[in-house]
C-alpha cells in the first residue's frame, strides 16, 4: 500500500500554512516528518487524518483518493489526548470500539496490550493518577489497539525513561515490520535514524528536502575527511589551513576535490598511526539544521 500526498495546500485566514506538500510513504516503512515548530507538520497530519480539509491537493492510497471508511488509522497526537478522569480500560475499549472493534474484542485486545506493556496493574486507574511515561504507553495502546493500516506517531517517545522508550520502540518496530504505513514525527533525530528509511524535512509549509536518508546523505559533497588519530598535532601541522580540530577531538580535513579522497586517505594512513579515517557524511542533525533551519542558521553551518 502506498500513501501519497500531492501538492497539499492549506491557509488559515490569510496565512498560508502549507504551500504544496508532496511526499509518499509505503507499507512496511516509516517516513520521518521533520521540521521546526510551526513548519506545518501537524497541519499536514491533521489533513491526512481528515480533521479538516486542505484548500487543494490530494491524498491518495494506491493511486486512488483515500476512503476514510476503508482505511483504518491509529494516531498518537503530540498533545496527549486521554480523559483524565475515566478508567484506563474504559477509555481504551471506547477508542477501540469507535475504530470499529466489537466490545468483546476491544476488551480482550486492551488487556493484552496492557499486559504486554506491563500496565495491567493500572487497568482500573485513571490517567491523572499515572506518570507521564505510563500515560504515554496508554496513548500508544490507543493508537495501535485496533491494528490500523496507517499509524501516525507525533513525538511518540518524548518524556519516556530509557527502559520505557525501549519498550515502545519495540512496539513501533513491530508495527513497521507488520507492514503498516508509519508516519513518524519527532525532534529526536536518533529515533528517526533508527526507524525511518525515508524522511521529508519541512520548512515554512514546503518540503525543503525529501527522500531516502542514505541518498540525502550521499548528495552532500564528499570533500572532507574525518580522522581520529594519536598524531593529530602532526596532522594539523602538515595540513595547515585545510585541517581543523573538532570539539570531540577528531580532525576535519578539506579535500580539494571529491576524486582525491581515496588517495588522500591512503596517504594519511601510511604516514600516521590512525584510529579511524572516513569521508565525512552529514548526520541527520546536520541535514535538519540545513534544511529546516532559517537562512541564518544555514549560513552558519556551511
Amino acid at each position: 500500500m502506498i500513501l501519497e500526498v500531492r501538492d497539499l495546500r492549506k491557509s488559515f485566514g490569510t496565512k498560508e500554512v502549507l504551500k504544496g506538500i508532496t511526499f509518499s510513504a509505503e507499507s512496511g516503512e516509516a517516513l520521518g516528518l521533520l521540521g521546526r515548530n510551526g513548519a506545518g507538520k501537524t497541519t499536514t497530519i491533521r489533513i491526512i487524518l481528515d480533521v479538516f480539509k486542505g484548500n487543494s491537493g490530494e491524498i491518495l492510497i494506491d493511486g486512488k483518493p483515500i476512503n476514510y471508511d476503508e482505511i483504518t488509522y491509529g494516531y498518537l497526537p503530540e498533545e496527549r489526548g486521554l480523559y483524565p478522569k475515566k478508567k484506563i480500560i474504559d477509555q481504551l475499549v471506547y477508542f477501540a470500539e469507535l475504530k470499529g472493534m466489537s466490545g468483546k474484542n476491544a476488551r480482550k485486545a486492551a488487556d493484552q496490550w496492557l499486559e504486554r506493556l506491563e500496565m495491567s496493574e493500572y487497568r482500573n486507574k485513571k490517567p491523572q493518577e499515572l506518570s507521564k511515561g505510563n500515560q504515554q504507553k496508554i496513548q500508544l495502546i490507543s493508537a495501535v489497539i485496533h491494528n490500523p493500516d496507517v499509524l501516525i506517531l507525533d513525538e511518540p517517545f518524548s518524556g519516556l525513561d530509557p527502559v520505557n522508550a525501549l519498550m515502545l520502540q519495540k512496539v513501533v518496530q513491530e508495527e513497521i515490520t507488520k507492514g503498516k504505513i508509519v508516519l513518524f514525527s519527532s525532534h529526536q533525530m536518533n529515533y528517526i535514524e533508527e526507524f525511518c528509511n525515508n524522511i521529508i524535512v519541512m520548512r515554512d509549509g514546503e518540503v525543503s528536502v525529501g527522500g531516502r536518508i542514505d541518498d540525502i546523505k550521499d548528495s552532500y559533497p564528499k570533500d572532507r575527511l574525518v580522522i581520529r588519530s594519536m598524531d593529530s598535532d602532526k596532522i594539523l601541522e602538515e595540513y595547515g589551513d585545510t585541517a581543523s580540530k573538532q570539539a570531540d577531538g577528531s580532525i576535519f580535513i578539506s579535500i580539494p576535490s571529491e576524486e582525491q579522497r581515496f588517495a588522500m586517505m591512503a596517504e594519511i594512513t601510511q604516514k600516521y598511526s590512525i584510529d579511524s579515517i572516513s569521508v565525512w557524511r552529514p548526520s541527520l542533525l546536520d541535514i535538519f539544521v540545513e534544511y529546516a533551519g532559517d537562512d541564518e542558521a544555514k549560513g552558519e553551518t556551511k
Partner: protein, 417 residues
C-alpha cells in the same frame, strides 16, 4: 450508526458513574419524598393531638356598640352564631387595647365591633391568605340590613325569608383548559426543564470542554464522525436527564401515593400529580426537543474554548437565551393570558417554543396547525443546530487560545459546509 451507539453508551455510562450526578439526584429525590411524606406522617402520628385541638373551638368576641341596633340585637346575635359555626361567639364589651392583648396571646381569634347597621370593625392578628371572616360578616350584615328595611316596608318574615333565600344555580361548560390546574403543570414542566437544561446542559458543556482541554477531542474526531459524537453525547445526556427526573418524580409520586390522605386538602399537590395524558405527551415532546436544542448550543459553545475556565464566558449567552424565554413564559402564565402576541411569536421561535408553546397548549386552546408548525420548526431547528454544533465541535480542534468571535465561528461553519 454503530459509532453513535458506542458514543451514546460511553457518555451515558459516564453520567451513571459520575458521583456528583448520582448523589445530587438521590438527594433531590430524597428531599422531595421527605417533603411529601413528612407532613402526612406528622398528621397520622399526631392525629390525636389534632383532634384534641379541634375540640377546642376557637373563640371570637363581638360587641354591638351602636345604639340604633339595640332593638334587634338578639336576632343579630343569632345570625352571628349561625354564620360562624366553627367559632365560640362570645358577646363581650371590650376596648381596643384589651382585645389586642387577647388576640395576640391567642386566646381570642378575632373580634368584631358592630359600629352601625352597615359598618363594623374587624380585629385580627394577621390577615391570613384565606381569611373570609369579613366576607361572611359583610354578607350577614347586608342581609340583616336588607331584612330590617323590608320589615319596615311592611313585608312579613316569611316573604322576607323567601326573597332572601333566592338561590341562583350555575353550571360551567369548559371549552378550553382549566387554567388554574394547568398553570401548575406548566410551572412544574418549565422549572423541570430549566433545572435539567442548566444542570445537564452544563455537564455536556463540561465534557466537551474537558475533551478539548485534554486534547482527547483530537483523537475523537479522527475516530468518529462529529455528528455521531454530538448526537450521541446529547441524547445520552437527555436520557440521563430523564432518568434523573424519573427518579425524582417517581419517588415523589410514590411518596404522594403512600401519604395521599395527608394531602387531601392540598389542591396544588394533588393537581400536579393528576395530569391529563395528552398534556403529558406534549410535555415529553417539548422537554426532549428543548433539552436537545439547548444541549447542542452548550456543546457548540464549549467547543470554542480551550480551557474549562473560559467555559462560563461562552455558556452564559446560551443560558441568557433560555432565561429570556423562561421569563416571557412565566409572565405569560402568571398574567393568565397566554395568547398574547409575544407568546404567540415565542411559541414559534425554537429557542422559546418548548416553554411558550407548552404553556399555551396547557392553558389555552391552540389551533392544531399552530402546534404542528411549532413542533415542526422546533424539530428542524434542533437537527440543524445539532449538525451545526457537530461542525463547530470538529472545527474546535483548531480553535485554541482566545475564545473566537461569532464571525469567526460562522466563517468556520461556512468552510466546513
Amino acid at each position: 450508526m454503530k459509532q453513535f451507539w458506542t458514543v451514546f453508551k460511553f457518555e451515558f455510562m459516564s453520567f451513571m458513574k459520575n458521583k456528583s450526578f448520582v448523589i445530587s439526584t438521590l438527594i433531590i429525590a430524597l428531599c422531595a419524598s421527605l417533603l411529601l411524606i413528612v407532613p402526612g406522617l406528622i398528621s397520622s402520628f399526631l392525629g390525636s393531638d389534632n383532634n384534641k385541638k379541634k375540640d377546642e373551638t376557637p373563640t371570637a368576641y363581638y360587641m354591638i356598640s351602636n345604639d340604633g341596633l339595640k332593638g334587634s340585637d338578639e336576632a343579630l346575635k343569632a345570625v352571628f352564631k349561625a354564620s360562624y359555626p366553627d367559632y365560640k361567639m362570645v358577646e363581650k364589651n371590650f376596648d381596643k387595647n384589651a382585645i389586642k392583648k387577647l388576640i395576640q396571646k391567642g386566646d381570642v381569634d378575632f373580634a368584631l365591633d358592630i359600629t352601625g347597621p352597615t359598618e363594623y370593625t374587624y380585629y385580627v392578628d394577621n390577615v391570613e391568605m384565606y381569611d373570609d371572616n369579613t366576607q361572611v360578616l359583610d354578607e350577614v350584615m347586608k342581609q340583616f340590613a336588607q331584612s330590617s328595611a323590608m320589615v319596615q316596608a311592611g313585608l312579613s318574615q316569611k316573604d322576607i325569608q323567601g326573597i332572601l333565600s333566592t338561590k341562583v344555580d350555575h353550571k360551567t361548560v369548559m371549552f378550553g383548559e382549566n387554567q388554574v390546574q394547568n398553570y401548575f403543570y406548566t410551572y412544574v414542566m418549565i422549572m423541570g426543564l430549566y433545572m435539567v437544561i442548566i444542570f445537564l446542559g452544563q455537564m455536556v458543556a463540561n465534557t466537551v470542554a474537558t475533551e478539548k482541554s485534554t486534547r482527547a477531542m483530537e483523537l475523537l474526531i479522527t475516530s468518529v464522525k462529529p455528528q455521531y459524537m454530538m448526537f450521541g453525547k446529547v441524547l445520552a445526556a437527555c436520557l440521563a436527564g430523564f432518568l434523573e427526573l424519573f427518579v425524582i418524580f417517581g419517588s415523589s409520586l410514590l411518596s404522594w401515593n403512600i401519604t395521599k390522605g395527608g394531602w387531601k386538602d392540598n389542591k396544588i399537590i394533588n393537581m400536579i400529580f393528576d395530569m391529563p395524558n395528552y398534556l403529558f405527551v406534549y410535555m415529553l415532546l417539548f422537554f426532549v426537543l428543548g433539552f436537545m436544542l439547548y444541549a447542542f448550543l452548550f456543546a457548540a459553545a464549549a467547543s470554542c474554548v480551550s480551557r474549562q475556565e473560559d467555559l462560563s464566558s461562552v455558556s452564559t449567552p446560551v443560558t441568557l437565551i433560555y432565561v429570556f424565554g423562561f421569563l416571557i413564559t412565566i409572565v405569560g402564565i402568571s398574567s393568565g393570558n397566554v395568547d398574547t402576541t409575544i407568546m404567540k411569536v415565542c411559541s414559534m421561535i425554537p429557542f422559546t417554543s418548548p416553554m411558550a408553546m407548552f404553556a399555551r397548549i396547557s392553558m389555552s386552546t391552540v389551533p392544531v396547525i399552530e402546534i404542528a408548525a411549532s413542533i415542526g420548526i422546533l424539530i428542524v431547528s434542533t437537527i440543524i443546530i445539532g449538525i451545526g454544533a457537530a461542525k463547530i465541535y470538529r472545527a474546535g480542534v483548531t480553535l485554541y487560545g482566545n475564545a473566537p468571535s461569532i464571525k469567526k465561528i460562522i466563517g468556520l461553519l461556512k468552510k466546513q459546509a
